[in-house]
């Protein structure tokens, strides 16, 4: 029975993850179109039913599946095939540690709405996200093309310039919510500051949030920081890929957006917490209460989590369609000279404030 529950949880989480990934491609097209006063892809239809292009992801998927699976004759065939699966896998497993909601009670059973309740869930997600760089390096190397190798080297250099800041910016969060377990980090954020402000990470760690968000944008390898890819001018690491393998790399990009949104939501925006709602319903700071049954509360939590994640996906796509790419040295400067000092100052400041308040 326990195994069955875990399998159901894995299937649900993966379906959620992949559906959201598919529809992020749709959102990306539509949102960019609306930003640029266009309409966007709206021609894909099933029997003439267009539905503002909602079938476009399926059309894309069919196209990618039926394309030729081409391996360049000079490439290392095994590694060339392995690379997209590696980068896809390392992003896909991160969903295991994301808390979707609080405990769900069915028939005396407590089901944790999280696949893997790790004590070090935060470290697990960060580690898996960093391992994704292996897919990039191997793809660039195995294609045996100088330009793809340069692209993957740029990816690796980008990784070392933002990864340090990414880790350091989270130390402040871990100091405030003394846990690495994502469920308890979220649970801590259910309390209120001064009686009415929800105790979310954004209010306790604003600088930490800024640094983390910039570093996480670099993690997704999309436009302001798309040095490994450089789809428009410089040649990126997956130049020698086509069809479904290329599709896996593209899906990895979108899945990273979702994972980053999940992380930002979980660490800084209260995860599944709805402001002023606890396990039995709303307790408003002005005194009113609105008690709700357990199922509705869990639904509210899932809805809140999804809304927050959608918002951050939207925000990241907005950012991607606003800014030009950073130059190589500018990214290094931003990482080493701005983000890392900022995050160090943030750690020291957090420590001082915590010492005074204690």
């Amino acid at each position: 029975m326990d195994i069955l529950i875990i399998v159901i949880k894995i299937v649900c989480a993966l379906v959620w993850f992949l559906t959201l990934t598919l529809y992020l491609t749709w959102l990306e097209r539509k949102e960019s179109a609306v930003i640029q006063d266009r309409i966007g892809a709206n021609r894909a239809n099933i029997f003439g039913l267009r539905l503002i292009g909602l079938f476009q992801p399926f059309a894309d998927a069919i196209k990618m599946i039926f394309k030729e699976d081409f391996v360049p004759p000079f490439a290392s065939k095994f590694l060339h095939t392995l690379a997209p699966f590696l980068s896809f896998f390392f992003v896909a497993v991160t969903i295991a540690a994301v808390p979707f909601g609080d405990r769900l009670e069915i028939g005396g059973r407590h089901i944790n709405l999280q696949i893997l309740d790790l004590n070090a869930g935060l470290l697990f997600i960060l580690a898996m996200l960093s391992l994704g760089i292996y897919g990039i390096i191997i793809s660039g190397w195995a294609s045996r093309n100088r330009f793809t190798l340069l692209g993957s080297m740029r990816g690796a250099a980008q990784l070392i310039s933002y990864e340090v800041a990414l880790g350091l910016s989270l130390i402040g969060v871990i100091m405030v919510y003394p846990s690495l377990r994502l469920q308890s980090i979220v649970a801590f954020q259910g309390e209120n500051l001064l009686g009415w402000i929800p105790k979310w990470g954004i209010f306790l760690q604003p600088f930490g949030f800024l640094v983390f968000f910039f570093a996480a944008l670099a993690e997704t390898k999309r436009v302001p920081f798309d040095l490994p890819e450089g789809e428009s001018e410089i040649i990126g690491f997956f130049t020698e890929y086509g069809g479904l393998k290329w599709g896996l790399f593209m899906m990895t990009d979108f899945m990273e957006i979702i994972v980053v949104s999940c992380l930002v939501t979980t660490l800084f925006f209260g995860g599944w917490q709805v402001p002023w709602m606890s396990a039995d319903g709303f307790h408003f700071p002005w005194g009113g209460t609105w008690l709700l049954p357990h199922g509705i509360v869990v639904l509210f939590q899932l809805l809140a989590f999804n809304l927050k994640v959608f918002f951050f996906c939207w925000l990241q796509i907005l950012i991607r369609w606003t800014y030009p790419r950073f130059r190589y040295d500018q990214l290094m400067d931003l990482g080493w000279k701005v983000l890392i000092p900022l995050s160090l100052i943030n750690i020291i400041g957090t420590g001082i404030v915590m010492g005074i308040l204690k």
Binding site: V34, I35, R38, T322, Y323
Partner: protein, 157 residues
């Protein structure tokens, strides 16, 4: 440091511009879905095959040959359009006309649309006003190149 702060402010301003575009356009799209007519639209796109942009009256589109009152082509095969054509896409073969006032009419008048650059020089050169470019037809695509050579029948059409 102040410069860095200004840079940051500009970055935020940039994203506010795209955000404004998104929100304003989304409002107009939503109004359209709700069936409320607005003067401004959410997008400037013209959905081409279904919806066509009006062609200006001076637009140079597909050629046509004019007819006389009795139905014969106005062209007198003076070869001026053939001479002036910069892409050398007009081929005219003359034949005799029984009317001594006219003397020559075209037996063949071919325009190779795959070569034509739609400069309109032939229209300007024509002394008889026999060729015009005012049909407002701009969709001249074919599956074979030979179909793009328009003869008398198509041009008089």
């Amino acid at each position: 440091m102040i410069k860095a702060l200004e840079y940051f402010v500009e970055i935020i301003k940039g994203s506010l511009i795209t955000c404004r575009h998104f929100i304003v356009n989304m409002v107009f799209h939503t109004l359209k879905v709700l069936g409320i007519k607005t003067k401004r639209k959410g997008a400037v796109t013209i959905q081409y095959p279904e919806e066509k942009k009006e062609i200006a009256s001076r637009h140079r589109s597909l050629h046509r040959l004019m007819r006389r009152e009795d139905g014969k082509p106005r062209c007198v095969s003076c070869m001026l359009c053939v001479t002036v054509c910069p892409s050398e896409c007009i081929a005219v073969e003359a034949t005799e006309d029984p009317d001594p006032e006219i003397q020559k009419i075209p037996a063949k008048f071919n325009i190779d649309m795959s070569r034509c650059c739609f400069c309109g020089f032939c229209v300007e050169a024509c002394p008889e006003d026999a060729i015009r470019m005012d049909t407002a037809k701009i969709e001249i695509a074919e599956y074979a190149r030979k179909d793009l050579i328009y003869g008398l029948d198509k041009l008089l059409g």
